[in-house]
């Protein structure tokens, strides 16, 4: 579904952000990305999203080279969620606007927006403006916008960074619930075959493929099928750990499993070791 080979990026000021990153993600996989601040996680996501043309390397999504063009049926939750929300639109319209790409009518867009807002615990905030909400609420609006879009590839840059611990656990479970489809059945963007301009009107079958950047080691293991640890600077892949925990994950039972404890310790060691 997603293949990254030899990805390096050097910003215009000469700063090398990521260096020779290799990463391959199966359709439907949820890959957690952890690493110290400034190691190039956001840069990596921007390159995958086609927002940033890398200085070297190749990225393909569903068999198609990204090369500075945004892959179809993609959603991004930006780390800077306050700047990513449109202050001139209400919360509801913020969530509904991208759905125009799916060719949905106004009523359907609104219904989907309302549902996504309810899912993230923001019932009844639809007619307010983003700047009238707290930081944690705004972050959930950005999350709802991405979920309402039902992308086949979802890139999330610290999407739960500003919410309290309890809400965070709820949102982790929500993410696992809405990624859809059973495991293994992935690649909804269609491997090969041009996935035509724009999204399809209906939700593609199979699971969303998700890249989730997080600073929370516990979270990276709990939600991930894999945990990729980056080291900086420049960012390189330090280790790539498979998470063999049974589904469905349970916030109490899963965290008590010896395998969970072992993985969490291993990721922790990898993050700390330069």
């Amino acid at each position: 579904m997603l293949d990254i080979t030899g990805l390096s990026h050097r910003y215009d000021d000469g700063h090398q952000a990521v260096d020779d990153i290799e990463l391959s993600v199966e359709g439907g996989e949820l890959v957690s990305i952890v690493g110290p601040s400034g190691c190039g996680k956001s840069t990596l996501l921007r390159c995958v999203a086609g927002l940033q043309r890398p200085s070297a390397g190749r990225i393909t999504v569903g068999g198609r080279a990204v090369e500075g063009a945004v892959p179809p049926n993609l959603a991004v939750v930006f780390q800077d969620y306050t700047r990513s929300l449109f202050p001139w639109l209400t919360v509801r319209d913020n969530v509904a606007l991208p759905l125009r790409r799916h060719g949905l009518g106004r009523a359907e867009r609104r219904a989907r927006a309302a549902k996504a807002l309810a899912q993230v615990g923001l019932d009844g905030t639809g007619s307010r403006y983003p700047w009238q909400l707290s930081g944690g609420m705004q972050q959930r609006v950005a999350l709802a916008r991405a979920l309402a879009y039902r992308p086949s590839l979802l890139l999330m840059d610290e999407p739960f960074g500003s919410v309290d611990a309890q809400t965070r656990e709820d949102l982790e479970d929500l993410l696992l619930a809405v990624r859809g489809g059973p495991a293994g059945e992935g690649g909804p963007a269609g491997e090969g075959g041009p996935a035509g301009e724009g999204g399809t009107a209906k939700r593609p079958p199979g699971r969303m493929t998700i890249l989730l950047v997080t600073h929370d080691i516990d979270e990276s293991v709990y939600v991930g099928d894999r945990v990729v640890v980056l080291t900086g600077a420049p960012g390189r892949v330090h280790s790539d750990l498979r998470v063999d925990l049974p589904a469905p994950r349970d916030r109490v039972a899963t965290r008590g499993l010896p395998e969970f404890v072992r993985l969490r310790a291993e990721v922790g060691r990898a993050v700390r070791r330069p």
Binding site: A49, G50, L51, V70, P72, N73, L74, A75, V76, F78, D80, T82, R83, S84, F86, P87, W88, L89, L97, P98, R101, A118, Q119, V120, G121, L122, D123, G124, T125, Y129, P130, W131, Q132, L133, S134, G135, G136, M137, Q138, Q139, R140, Y149, G161, S162, V163, D164, Q166, T167, D170, L174, G198, G199
Partner: protein, 289 residues
């Protein structure tokens, strides 16, 4: 799931709201009234001072008529068909020129602002053309257009063009790149990003440009009438009050009307901005207001 009541306990970055947000909404309301009261007091005081100056004989009674009689004259002119005809000519030339300027400057600004290499060239042209005062172009405009109404409208348009164009350009520069990338990431193309992000984001700037242009345009409209003549317009009316010994009370009353026009246009545009761009008004209204 969780209710909003518990939300926001995390240390999220503050949204771009001002520190004044701590003020209670009630305090804001009374503050607005307080400001209006102060304004009324100031205006009343000025009228009083002018009145005393004229009546007390400090200035020549003929040169500066008492404020109350000027205001009475101005009020009377509201039902004077002759004067209203003059006023209508000015207003239509002024608004016509302004509308033309908006229709030219906003698309030009969008075009220049969305093409980086044009942006530089565009700004250079603007910086060269802008310092030329429109009143200096009155003789040229008379030569070119001859007909007074067209002279007036084209000069208003010229004067109004620059503030609108500049504010559009600066507004587009100020658009948050993250907001643009957000829409791009959802698969929207450049035109959609321009219309759905850049334009609404730059909107408050553009409107400020229009407000500046409106006040500049009114000055130019009246100046053009004073110089180019014609048979109707506020400037023409002022010239007429000058002739035959002169009627200072009517002259000043005419000026009061010009001031009222400018004030009204400003108020309308500010109100429209509040309605159209609530996010830019939030600095004044505070969070949750």
């Amino acid at each position: 799931m969780t209710g909003p009541a518990r939300a926001g306990a995390g240390p999220g970055p503050e949204p771009r709201a001002p520190a004044r947000a701590l003020l209670r909404p009630g305090a804001l309301v009374s503050r607005r009234w307080g400001r209006a009261l102060l304004g009324a007091l100031g205006a009343g005081g000025a009228v009083l001072v002018l009145e005393l100056l004229a009546r007390g004989g400090a200035v020549d009674d003929d040169a500066l008529p008492p404020a109350t009689s000027v205001l009475a004259r101005a009020a009377g002119m509201a039902v004077d068909d002759g004067f209203l005809g003059h006023l209508g000519t000015t207003v239509s030339a002024w608004l016509g020129g302004l509308a033309l300027a908006v229709a030219l400057a906003v698309p030009a600004g969008l075009l220049l602002g969305s093409l980086p290499w044009l942006d530089r060239a565009g700004l250079a042209v603007v910086e060269l053309a802008r310092p030329v005062p429109s009143v200096a172009l009155i003789p040229l405009a008379i030569l070119v257009f001859a007909e007074p109404v067209r002279v007036e409208r084209s000069l208003v348009c010229y004067a109004a063009l620059w503030p609108i164009l500049l504010n559009t350009l600066y507004g587009l520069r100020d658009v948050d790149p993250v907001a643009k990338e957000t829409l791009r990431a959802f698969g929207f193309g450049a035109p959609a990003v321009l219309v759905r992000v850049s334009l609404p984001s730059a909107g408050p700037f553009v409107l400020t440009g229009v407000r500046i242009a409106a006040s500049v345009g009114l000055i130019v409209a009246v100046s053009a009438e004073l110089r180019a003549g014609g048979d109707s317009g506020l400037g023409v009316y002022l010239l007429q009050t000058q002739s035959g010994g002169g009627r200072p009370d009517l002259m000043v009353a005419g000026a009061v009307w010009a001031g009222a026009l400018g004030t009204a246009a400003n108020a309308v545009l500010v109100g429209a901005g509040r309605l159209a761009f609530p996010h830019s008004a939030r600095a004044a209204a505070g969070r949750g207001g």
